[in-house]
């Protein structure tokens, strides 16, 4: 035989889907193209990937050409299947919305009212000398009365 008969290397009809993926896979392992073009869930694609790497190892690192055990492959696959996929929410973690609010969160609900009361008090304090509310104790008492009324409404 002077040259390999390439016609005999063609995959069977049922492997046509893989054959479509194989050129992309071959290019991808050389850094050409993108893995998104390849259906990684296809077991034939996996087989192809494995064989192409055996060829590469045979040419570049023949000492690594030692098959792994069937039991390793099966156990590895099962162990990986038990692992959660990355980049997705942990199903064990409760959704934020259903979480019971903590003490400080609940206390925080009253905070806007307190903040508003504090703002009103500050305004009155500053405005007092400007608006002439300082005229006698009566003016100050009126101011306090207004402030208390505001606080009652807000809290």
């Amino acid at each position: 035989m002077t040259s390999v008969d390439l016609q005999n290397t063609l995959l069977s009809d049922e492997d046509m889907a893989t054959r479509d993926a194989a050129p992309s896979l071959s290019a991808y392992m050389d850094g050409q193209g993108h893995s998104r073009e390849i259906d990684l869930a296809d077991s034939q694609v996996m087989q192809c990937w494995s064989q192409y790497h055996v060829i590469r190892d045979a040419l570049t690192d023949p000492s690594s050409l030692t098959p792994v055990s069937e039991s390793f492959a099966a156990r590895m696959s099962a162990a990986l299947a038990r692992e959660p996929a990355h980049g997705q929410p942990d199903p064990q973690e409760k959704p934020v919305a259903s979480r019971r609010p903590g003490f400080w969160e609940r206390a925080g609900l009253a905070w806007p009212g307190l903040a508003m009361a504090s703002a009103v008090a500050s305004v009155v304090w500053i405005a007092q000398p400007l608006l002439g509310l300082q005229e006698g104790v009566g003016g100050l008492a009126q101011c306090r009365k207004l402030l208390r009324a505001h606080l009652r409404r807000l809290i």
Binding site: V4, Y52, A58, P62, M76
Partner: protein
Amino acid sequence: MTERQVDADLVARVQQGDKQAFDLLVLKYQRKIQRLLSRMIRDPSDIDDVMQETFIKAYRALPQFRGESAFYTWLYRIAINTGRNWLSTEGRRPSSPGLNISDDGETFDEIDNLTDNNTPESALTSHEIAATVNSVIEQLPAELRTAIVLREIDGLSYEEIAETMACPIGTVRSRIFRAREAIAAKLRPLLDTHGDRRW
């Protein structure tokens, strides 16, 4: 994209939730990791256990992998640490007496100089596969042979091969694929006849 970038692409897919991409990384590196561990640990079933632990540890740690080093360097470091922990837990000595692994997992020279624990049978299989690959390559039409040799042995990029062979990149891509398919077709019967072993 270099080989390191191919790994980085697969790593990114795993980090985004694609577990199948990790299968590709396992298939690519399992033999190298097995060889590495076989230089530390003698019993094949122990090697399988430590190898599985290595890959699972790597999978779990992958969200923290930022690509400062190559993926295989990072994986080798995990394998060495896992193997060393196993030896220490089991109170055993490394299978290779001269084994003294440095903490910096980047240096593998010492490990590479050690004799691995390949059985005569597996050594024969390796030899047979390597011989078949080389024999098929010699029989390939010249343009396929040149393309695959420039790629796999000389490590040229498709652009460089296209320039060397004075042809479009698409032709290089097709020639390399056809060469691989021709070799794989001759290898398949050999790869399928190993009972409880797989490639």
